[in-house]
Symmetry: C2
Amino acid sequence: MPLFYPTWKVGKGLHALGTHLLVELRDCNAEIIKDLKKVKNILVSAAKEAKATIVDISFHEFNPFGISGMVIIAESHLSIHTWPEYAYAAVDIFTCGDIIKPEVAASYLIQQFESKSPSIVELKRGILSQQTNERLPHKITDPQLEYV
Amino acid sequence: MPLFYPTWKVGKGLHALGTHLLVELRDCNAEIIKDLKKVKNILVSAAKEAKATIVDISFHEFNPFGISGMVIIAESHLSIHTWPEYAYAAVDIFTCGDIIKPEVAASYLIQQFESKSPSIVELKRGILSQQTNERLPHKITDPQLEYV
């Protein structure tokens, strides 16, 4: 019998401020992930599919090929970097709150980029409490509570 | 004796297209991470410290407080999301190539945001080969090699 019981329970999961999906898109359609306009439209659509609120968009094409892009959303961000020469794209979907569905965005991207060998790792970011019954809101709405 | 020996060797590490640092900045100076101008300047300076080539910058302040920001660099990106009410900031530093030093950027950010309890996890992104002797370049420079 252990001397110390942790306050959190295995299997319940810890509360965190953010959810971060690391999406590895291997064996994509290289013609799609080398096209700036297509990559941009697909990432923006993925944000909308996940019910995100888009704040800013920035996409850039590199020489000889490869796209980097960001969609800043009110709930955090989506990012992509593509290597058409390897048919590979690295996507990050960082979200906060309970309304947005990052997994919907991930599924959409896998489908649209035609990745035949995708993988997703889900991370929690900002685990600040070991109390499973303590909910950490995305943003405190009452400024009175600031720095409690 | 195992029937199958993997072609990669333990401890040598696998070659990847990108290096991704997940930086958890806990117990920051809340006055700094709630200040849009300061957060922006610090992240831009971190990119410069790491010898990155800045391509685009986008920072936004949320109500009642909290900053989201992106620095797109030729070598991928830096991102930040701050929760001043929890003295917490989540930073991602995604880089490609051998010249840039993401760990320098991470150290700089820890120092500038005065994080008393930081942590860093280093991930590899785009592990496409099991051959440790095969170097994967950031970008192929000869278009003839496209889609080999």
